[in-house]
C-alpha cells in the first residue's frame, strides 16, 4: 500500500497521462486500456495500479470485469494551480542549496 504517492509524480509519466485521457470519456477495463498502447500488458497494469493508488482512477466491479474510471474529485484537486508554481520555486531553491553547498570561500 502506498497511499502517500505523489499525484504530480503520477502524472509526470506520458503513458499515465494518456491513460487518464482515455478513461476520461468512458470507463474501460484494463484490457481495453492496454489495447491502446504498444507497451506490454504488465507495464500498463503497473501504471493503472499507480493511478489507482493515488486515487486518480477508481475501480468498479461490473460482473466479472473491473472497470476503471476517472476520479473527478481528485482530478480537481490536482488542478490546484498553485502547486506547479510552488514546485518551480522549490526546484530553484534546491538548486541554490546544491550550488552553495559546493561553494568554497576564497580565503
Amino acid at each position: 500500500m502506498n497511499l502517500r504517492r505523489d499525484v504530480f509524480q503520477a502524472i509526470a509519466d506520458p503513458t499515465r497521462r494518456a491513460i487518464l485521457l482515455l478513461v476520461a470519456s468512458q470507463s474501460m477495463t484494463a484490457g481495453a486500456i492496454a489495447s491502446n498502447f504498444d507497451t506490454a500488458r504488465p507495464t500498463v497494469s503497473k501504471h493503472l495500479q499507480i493511478l489507482t493508488e493515488c486515487e486518480l482512477l477508481e475501480q468498479k466491479q461490473n460482473g466479472r470485469e473491473i472497470y476503471y474510471n476517472l476520479n473527478a474529485k481528485k482530478m480537481k484537486e490536482l488542478a490546484d494551480f498553485i502547486e506547479p508554481f510552488r514546485k518551480l520555486w522549490d526546484d530553484r531553491f534546491n538548486k541554490l542549496e546544491t550550488v552553495m553547498k559546493k561553494y568554497k570561500p576564497q580565503k
Binding site: L21, R92, F93, V99, M100
Partner: protein, 155 residues
Amino acid sequence: MEQKTKVIAESGKQEMLITREFDLPLELLFKAYAEAKLVEQWMGTKVLKLESKKFGSYQFEKKDEQGNITFSANGVTHEFVPNQKIIRTFEMENTPFGVQLEIYKFEKLTDTTSKLSMHTIYESVALRDQVLQMPFAQGLNWAHNQLQEVVSKLK
C-alpha cells in the same frame, strides 16, 4: 513530510509570500543572492549586471541555442542589508506582468540552517494570479502536447 518551500497566496490579494528553509548557514544563503557568479549558477540565467547595494540595479538574461533571448529581467535595489534584507523591484521584459516589488528577509535558524521569506507585491490581484498560474498553464500545455504525441502514435 513537511514541504520546505511554502507559497502563501490568499485569494483576492495582490501579494504573495514564499518561504523556504535552507540547509545552509545564513551567510551562504545571502551570498547566493549577492554575487553574480552564484546567481548565474542557481538561476540558470546570465547576469549582465548585479550591483548589490542601495540604488544598485541588475539585469538577467537567458538565450536559446540560436542566440535568441528567451528571458530578460531587470530591477533596481532599494535596500541592501547584508545577511538581513534586500528590497528590489523586478520586471520581466516583454511580458504583461508589470513590475513587482520584492522584499527578501534572510534569517538565521541555527549555525547551519537559515530561512528566506520572499514577499512579493504585484500591481494588481489579476496580475498576481496570472503569474501564479503560469507554471500550471505551461505544465498543462506540455502535458497536452505529450498527449497529442501519444495519441497520434495510436492511429
